[in-house]
C-alpha cells in the first residue's frame, strides 16, 4: 500500500526564519505535487516535480525531488505571515495508474508575525 508521509504535521515559526517540510513516499512515482490550502478554500497548485533532481522555486518557496530516496522537500526562506496555510504533497504515476495521485496528511504552517 502506498504511503505518503509528511513531516512535520504542524509547524509554528517566526517570521524571517527558514524551514523545510519533508515528504516521503513508499513506492516508485514519476510525479510529485505540492499544494497550498488556505482555511475554507480549495487547493492551489504550487509545484509539479517530474524528474529526479528537479528543483523549482517560486518566491520564498523552493521544492525539490529525489526519486531515489523517494523524498521531496518544500523549503521556506525568510518566512512571512502570508505563507501561513496547510501544505500538501501528493504523489502520482504510481502502480501503473497514470491517473491516481495520493495525498499526504498535510503540514499546517503557522507563521507568527
Amino acid at each position: 500500500e502506498l504511503k505518503v508521509e509528511q513531516n512535520p504535521l504542524f509547524l509554528s515559526m517566526q517570521e524571517g526564519k527558514n524551514y523545510t517540510i519533508y515528504c516521503n513516499y513508499s513506492t516508485t512515482s514519476d510525479r510529485l505535487y505540492w499544494y497550498r490550502q488556505d482555511p475554507g478554500k480549495s487547493l492551489e497548485s504550487l509545484f509539479v516535480l517530474l524528474s529526479n533532481g528537479a528543483v523549482k522555486q517560486e518566491g520564498r518557496l523552493m521544492a525539490s525531488l529525489d526519486t531515489k530516496a523517494r523524498l521531496s522537500t518544500l523549503h521556506i526562506t525568510a518566512a512571512v505571515h502570508d505563507l501561513s496555510a496547510t501544505y500538501f504533497c501528493a504523489v502520482g504515476g504510481i502502480m501503473n495508474r497514470d491517473d491516481k495521485i495520493i495525498f499526504g496528511k498535510g503540514t499546517r504552517l503557522h507563521i507568527l508575525p
Binding site: D30, R31, Y33, Y35, K41, S42, L43, S45, V48, L50, F88, A90, G92, G93, D98, D99, K100, I101, I102, F103, G104, K105, G106
Partner: protein, 115 residues
Amino acid sequence: SAVISQKPSRDICQRGTSLTIQCQVDSQVTMMFWYRQQPGQSLTLIATANQGSEATYESGFVIDKFPISRPNLTFSTLTVSNMSPEDSSIYLCSAGGGRIDNEQFFGPGTRLTVL
C-alpha cells in the same frame, strides 16, 4: 491553468436524500476526479471520472453510493446517494494531471452537511 467551478458551493441535506454536485472545467481535459476532504484532514480520492465510460472507483467507494457521470471532456457530476451524517464533508472536483496534462487543478469544493 484550468479554471474549475462547482455547484452548489454548499448544501444542508436531510438523511436519506441524494445530492448531485456539478463540476465544470473551462477547457477540455483528459482526466477529472472526485475527492472527499473531512474538515482538517487530507484528501481522499473517490473515483476517476472517465469520459464515455464508467468511473473508476477507489477502495471503499462504490457506484451505488457515489454515481458519477462524465458526458464530455469538460463536465462531470457526482451524486451522493441515500445520505447519512457520515457523508458530511467537502467534495472536491479536480481536472488534469497524469502524464499528458501533468498539473492537476482543483475546484472550490462543495461543503455538504447531512442532518
